[in-house]
Symmetry: C2
Subunit: 198 residues, 2 copies
């Protein structure tokens, strides 16, 4: 079965619609999705950015919020602009990585829905604990695992790998042979590529 | 008839596929296109950039060239990466603005095709003269008009207006009510918006 790597950062705005629709779109094409959380912060840092480019470049930021609102309306996804933006997605990313691959997608979608659909604070342990509990996952056990040295090191490796394969923003999709696609609006092209070329 | 403003900069890579396909896509939806050349340079300058962001951020630049190659292949458009990049599109923009609106689309497409399809130097008068001549337009008369104070001032006004309506990159599409769409990949959404909301 052809595979695609779905690289996402929890604070990334356009990763929200991508996360909500990738499973159905991939299934329709017979493509298997590997969910790969990573951190954009270190990659932006290398580009000289100490904040989201949507905050650094206000015209681009204003446009992005309007564009995202339109995209969510077209997909019938709830939308509420997070405040503050960007949210710190470090703990969410560690939790996602600590989960086994079968549980990662549902947790990931729940975090995006909380952040961009309900304006909840995903940097707060309380928010994440409620999400875990709703998924029948024990919050304490998962927080403990997420803060282990093993998971910290694995998230760092993920981010290093993202950089190595040429990722500079999120969401990103990588098909066989390292073919890279960037952005929610490239989801279909990426999946078509994967379906055709394995 | 609903209208859309198509804002383009001659050096802009993604403006190439947009320019080549907007007329058919707009016609299919009963939307009239106003072709509006402008300069990104002054807008990028305000954002602190003294070069194309695709040169300033190499990972983004590498991705863009590959992405553009894929897009052109899917559209059956010839593609040849310009060298140097970005090309100086000032004279081309002045010429486009100096032409009447009926002739501007064909000239614009010819400049993009020369630059991104045949790797010709659009900053050179020779290239532009050949394009004008192929369109049965007298090169000398058009160069004279393009370098007039009137046209210089009009191009500056276009660029000021682009900034005022929130444009930060090209191509951009503006529908009634100032609704802004950015990028070749938003062409259909922009035209659908214009067709539905006038």
């Amino acid at each position: 079965m052809p595979q695609i790597d779905f690289w996402y950062e929890f604070a990334s705005t356009y990763s929200y619609p991508a996360a909500m629709r990738i499973e159905a779109a991939a299934k329709a094409r017979g493509v298997e999705v590997r969910w790969r959380p990573f951190l954009l912060g270190p990659i932006f840092f290398d580009q000289g950015w100490r904040d989201s480019p949507f905050n650094i470049y206000p015209a681009k930021g204003r446009y992005m919020w309007r564009d995202l609102e339109r995209i969510c309306a077209a997909l019938d996804l709830p939308f509420a602009r997070p405040d503050p933006f960007p949210q710190n997605g470090l703990t969410a990313a560690r939790l996602a990585l600590a989960l086994d691959e079968a549980r990662r997608p549902a947790f990931t979608r729940a975090v995006y829905a909380a952040q961009f659909g309900e304006r909840r604070q995903i940097a707060e342990q309380e928010t994440l604990a409620a999400i875990l509990a709703a998924l029948q996952l024990d919050p304490d056990a998962h927080f403990a695992r997420a803060s282990s040295d093993d998971i910290k090191a694995r998230l760092k490796e993920q981010t290093d790998e993202a950089k190595r394969v040429g990722i500079f923003g999120a969401p990103a999709f990588v098909a066989a042979g390292g073919e890279l696609f960037w952005g929610n609006d490239r989801l279909e092209a990426a999946l078509d590529w994967a379906a055709k070329r394995g």
